[in-house]
């Protein structure tokens, strides 16, 4: 079957549509997270989403509906533990992440019925994305994009030099909280594409590739978006042609782009 024939299937079209929004969203937030050395917050929140999805399955509620508020709460918990308990950020991520995984394992053990469903969330399946998930992905992506657009200079200034940003009247604590909440929503949306295990790759890899090549902050965001989109498109196509798992293929294409960007930087 050719690529053109594949593209005529509605499940492929939905995968491209939702995937395009979410991958560009991940790359944009990823630039801020990587530069602020907060890359692992995506990893930590994806572990929280494991617990949240288990909770959704346990309660018989659509898991993504449970995951959004729970993972947002997890992101605020990471910030509060860092600020109030005098714990370093990476340790706070470790604490919240461990609680998420442990909670998920206990719920899975208690329920004994939804382990197969939970497994599908661990590795994602963009090709089985439903209409409601496409709409949800586009709507939440648009909300996050608009927030980033309106707070672009606040995020940029806080990422470049948080202390200086405060001297210009920017409320950096609020900016940090907002960035964490947007990351939490993005992590939940990304689960359907690459799964809980690989969510952080979508946040980190396009940003890391862009930072090798960019000659300006806006350029970094633009390059990250292009890398993310190309990785998604190539990942879906290659996975269809070679019958490979789509999420993992998207991540491997991202890794290839990162290696190419490293090589290009060395050459120039």
């Amino acid at each position: 079957m050719s690529i053109i024939e594949f593209l005529q299937y509605s499940f492929i079209q939905k995968a491209f549509l939702a995937g395009a929004f979410i991958s560009v969203l991940c790359s944009t937030l990823g630039i801020f997270l990587v530069l602020r050395k907060m890359s692992l917050i995506g990893d930590g929140l994806s572990h929280v989403s494991f617990g949240a999805i288990a909770l959704g399955l346990f309660l018989g509620v659509y898991p993504i509906y449970v995951a959004v508020p729970v993972v947002v709460a997890g992101s605020i918990a990471i910030l509060k533990i860092t600020e109030k308990a005098k714990v370093y950020g990476d340790a706070a991520i470790g604490i919240v992440s461990a609680a998420g995984i442990a909670g998920g394992v206990i719920l899975a053990s208690l329920a004994r019925g939804f382990n197969v469903d939970l497994f599908s969330y661990l590795f994602g399946n963009i090709l089985s994305i439903s209409d409601i998930e496409v709409i949800l992905s586009i709507a939440l992506s648009a909300a996050v994009f608009l927030t980033v657009y309106f707070f672009y200079y606040d995020f940029f200034s806080a990422a470049f030099d948080e202390e200086y940003a405060k001297t210009t009247g920017i409320k950096t604590s609020a900016v940090n909280a907002l960035l964490s909440i947007l990351t939490a929503i993005t992590v939940v949306l990304s689960i359907r594409i690459v799964g809980i295990m690989l969510v952080s790759a979508l946040l980190i890899l396009p940003a890391a590739s862009a930072l090798q090549l960019a000659k300006g902050f806006k350029a970094a965001i633009a390059i990250g978006a292009v890398v993310a989109l190309l990785s998604l498109l190539l990942g879906i196509v290659i996975s269809l042609l070679l019958n490979l798992p789509t999420g993992a293929t998207i991540v491997i294409v991202n890794v290839m782009f990162f290696l190419i960007s490293l090589f290009y930087k060395k050459m120039v």
Partner: protein, 249 residues
């Protein structure tokens, strides 16, 4: 005349460790104050309190006649932090983008940089003689160039008070000299009030008009003539350090 900055009975501690004890002084428009003192004397703490980066616990700070707790007109204050402490060499921001951050103090939500702002950025770059660096990545510049970028960022909002935290750190002697000349020019030609933290007593003697010497409390605050003629200061500093500060003045 309204003081640019008025500090009264300011005290601050980090837990049980006292950083500032009963500090009081006034800074007038057009002053160039060198802020010096040994390590741990409270210099950076004082600057952070003035800039609202730390919350004061005792005493008052008035900026342009307004209590620092409610002060919001931050475009009137320019700040140049220690370069080595803030610059991430991997951050892909261009010089133009970095200098534009200095304009955010004038903006309200949603903060945006428009064409009029870009003209201000061009003017600030030109005043610092770094227009040719506009599209370069700030983290890839030499130390002296980076310091000028940070000075342009502080100056782009046309502040009346400029605060510099050890701007000569990690600069070679020539770059350091050029930078201090530039700050002196801003003070003399534009009447900008300057507070500069430095460990280099010779630089203070050469460029500043007043010395504020801290050691948790105020050891000395005043003009150099008084400082150089003070026997108390000779006893405190020893004749060599006092001479170092005084001989270039």
């Amino acid at each position: 005349m309204e003081h640019i900055l008025s500090v009264r009975d300011l005290s601050f501690s980090y837990g049980p460790t006292e950083a500032l004890n009963n500090v009081s002084f006034d800074i007038e428009p057009g002053d160039y104050v060198g802020l010096a003192g040994p390590n741990g004397a409270g210099k950076t703490t004082l600057i952070k309190l003035i800039l609202g980066l730390l919350r004061k616990r005792g005493g008052t700070i008035k900026l342009f006649g307004q209590d620092s707790g409610g002060f919001s007109d931050w475009r009137r204050v320019g700040f140049v932090p220690q370069r080595a402490a803030v610059l991430n060499p991997l951050f892909p921001a261009t010089v133009q983008e970095v200098v534009g951050l200095g304009l955010l103090s004038q903006k309200r939500f949603p903060r945006k940089i428009g064409p009029a702002d870009e003209r201000k950025i061009e003017q600030a770059l030109s005043a610092m003689d770094i227009s040719y660096l506009k599209d370069k990545i700030a983290g890839e510049l030499s130390g002296g160039q980076q310091q000028r970028v940070f000075l342009a960022r502080a100056m782009v909002s046309s502040p009346e008070l400029l605060i510099l935290d050890e701007p000569g750190t990690a600069l070679d002697p020539q770059s350091s000299e050029n930078f201090f000349e530039l700050v002196k020019k801003l003070n003399q030609e534009k009447g900008i009030t300057v507070i500069m933290i430095t460990h280099d007593l010779g630089q203070i003697g050469k460029y500043a008009g007043k010395l504020l010497y801290l050691d948790r409390g105020v050891v000395f605050y005043g003009g150099f003539k008084d400082f150089c003629q003070s026997e108390e200061m000779t006893r405190y500093f020893g004749p060599f350090s006092q001479h170092l500060i005084c001989h270039q003045h």
